[in-house]
Assembly symmetry: C2
Homo-oligomer: 425 residues x 2
């Protein structure tokens, strides 16, 4: 039997979930793994105001009690946000304490210094729960697929936006309406920006594409477009053409070029990701040898997150050499790989066009000048405005060429209303 | 840099795939992990008859060359079947060599002695590819979910039967016809028994439920029913009622009771496993904390299997202490857990009934006497036989009670034609 003392940084919803799991599973983990896991100290902002089931005697308002206690071997960070979480984690690592975190923002923004601190002291840095909650994507990529060459990771990694898009699709409702309802139900934050603008997904994509492609894909390299501009009409038009709308985090490697982007995406209705509804997360992986894989599960919630975090804790506690068991990735960008913002994909383009002869030809000709060919076209009759809706799905085209083609359209003839990328075919 | 010599036992389709991966990825694995992986010897039945790209100079007809060479650290077993594969693996482990295998049959039937040999010598035993091919189910259960309490593993783990059932459903064809075609296409073995009778799935279920429930579930404890009795009519009736037919390997823990069974199963059409078609595999996991998870991917094929095997090889080669990194499970059955063959589930029952008043009441009354209540009933008009088809879907009922109720039906009044269990609601 080996007693391992843990220190918590933060003790809210997730910290409480971990504490409950460790209590409920204490004897089973002891029997299975010979580990007696104990929470020695838990940092909270204010002991009198702490709303937690964790016993008062282990609560502390001083981070030092967690970061410098020589009895504490593993520090679990549940504070969220980048500061002071990253500083605390760095100090814990410098002090030789292994760190377990689910904090994608702090990790994505401070990975280099955190990993450097871990490498220097020989401590471990574990973050399975930082991407996709309970989905074991980090371990799948770093361990199971370590010998493979991954060329695609594509995921629904934000439950809030997936919930909103699922309800918009089912009810035909508009974004603002569903968001307000999700906020009322506690399924979206009062300030939803990090979710709906795709920032949360971008942090996660930065982490998983860095690992998948063995190079550093920083958050500022991720192209990002949220769901605030998505309309019920786009969703309905897409469905009519056989597509489902999802906010996807997409990392692709084509030869020596890497692309990383978060944006609303149409997928064929029969693509496995199209069927991942509500607050579920799922990540689709393609590699040279593994071919297609998909992992799905709960991306958030105290229990699923606690399951993933405690898997890391057991792993950390079992390994005498944490730096060996710690998840590996290349810290420096690989000089042989370049990041691009000019990917190719198919596009869904909706324009409001003058209802007159020759308009379709004019649009198609602009596309043609940029080498973009149209795969499908749908025309919706003229409304009160006297203008028709034209919807195009293109063949594979360059992002830059598409931007040029759209910029060159005369808005009086054809005003661009929506541009949505299409993947998964 | 660390040079690690590998020995192959067998060098057919899978061995060749592993050899190709190790060649193609050699420099990347060296750069990523500091490992120089080399295949030193590969056992084949006959060097002159060997059909492999592996260079002739490393081929050998003597198992001793692999099992006793002190330079070989990791033995990769690709022979299939239980004998002599299990004996060879045991000897390799006794000689302190770590073993990597995808051989579910040899592992399921000889796990105790293999693990004992590994524990004794301190060698590692790795078998990620033995269940679900490239799906990282073993690592998910043993590492990621180690701190959780898993109560369900339910999977499509045999690609051949899933391919056959998918085609039967799409084409309305009968079993024998689709099987013959699958054999022609090389998607079913000339002797398909191990697949279609559910043996292959039973080996895999034995492995994954042993791990999930931390107790030994031997193959002879697995209830097994194959797909040879499945008819196009059952599939069509099920579909009409909203169900999809799959051959599932199901392990459940309810309190202190464990059930393990392989049989054709109706799932609601919107269940994630219902949409896993063709030769794909997928495994659904439920736990107290992780809640619902599903992992899907290629269950067979040289490339996906090679990806999973080489993930194990890298893992084995990196770990100075293989027994610690090796996958853990409890070898002895947990005395606090009992295996049952009297589970509860819903049932789909098709009977050919006399087309006369009172027949439905007679059947329902037999069910009622055993405490089984009917959820849905469908009647198909009398055919040339003058008998009607009655299809019942029951509420949750005990397996034993259902067997008693069916045995008590008078075949002249109502002859039982199909009994298919229903899961996933």
């Amino acid at each position: 039997m080996k007693t391992v003392n843990l220190g918590f940084l933060g003790c809210g919803n997730i910290g409480g979930g971990v504490w409950h799991l460790l209590n409920e599973m204490h004897d089973e983990i002891l029997a299975r793994d010979g580990l007696d896991l104990r929470v020695k100290k838990a940092l909270v902002l204010s002991i009198p105001l702490a709303r937690t089931d964790v016993p008062a005697e282990i609560l502390t308002e001083s981070a030092e009690d967690v970061l410098t206690d020589p009895d504490i071997a593993i520090v679990c960070e549940f504070m969220g946000g980048s500061h002071p979480a990253a500083d605390f984690m760095r100090r814990a690592l410098e002090n030789g304490k292994t760190v377990v975190t689910a904090n994608k923002m702090a990790l994505a923004l401070n990975w280099h210094s955190l990993q450097a601190a871990a490498d220097k002291s020989g401590a471990g840095l574990y973050y399975e729960a930082s991407v996709g909650g309970v989905i074991p994507i980090i371990r799948a990529l770093t361990v199971s697929l370590e010998a493979d060459r991954i060329d695609q990771v594509m995921g629904i990694v934000n439950g809030t936006t997936n919930y909103i898009l699922t309800r918009m699709a089912r009810e035909g409702s508009d974004y603002a309406e569903v968001l307000a309802d999700a906020q009322k139900l506690g399924l979206a934050e009062p300030n939803p920006e990090a979710d709906v603008e795709g920032m949360d997904a971008a942090y996660k994509l930065s982490i998983m594409s860095s690992i998948a492609f063995h190079t550093r894909v920083t958050v500022d390299c991720v192209y990002r477009e949220g769901i605030t501009g998505v309309t019920a009409e786009d969703i309905a038009c897409g469905r009519e053409m056989g597509y489902t709308l999802k906010l996807l985090a997409i990392g692709k490697r084509r030869g020596d070029t890497i692309e990383a982007r978060v944006h609303p995406t149409f997928l064929p209705a029969d693509h496995p990701l199209s069927r991942v509804d509500g607050s579920l997360n799922a990540i689709f992986v393609h590699g040279a040898y593994c071919q297609d894989m998909m992992l799905q599960g709960r991306g958030a919630g105290d229990k699923p997150t606690a399951s993933a975090i405690c898997g890391d804790i057991v792993c950390a506690a079992l390994n005498e050499r944490p730096q060996r068991a710690s998840l590996r990735y290349t810290e420096q960008p690989d000089p042989a790989l370049t990041l691009t913002d000019d990917w190719t994909c198919r596009f869904f383009i909706r324009v409001s066009a003058k209802d007159a002869p020759g308009v379709l030809a004019a649009v198609a000709s602009r596309f043609g000048q940029e080498g973009i060919s149209i795969a499908t076209m749908l025309q919706k009759g003229a409304g009160v405005s006297g203008r028709a809706r034209l919807i195009f799905i293109t063949h594979e085209a360059s992002e830059h060429a598409m931007r040029r083609a759209l910029a060159a359209l005369d808005p009086d003839i054809a005003a661009v209303e929506s541009v949505i990328r299409v993947e998964g075919e």
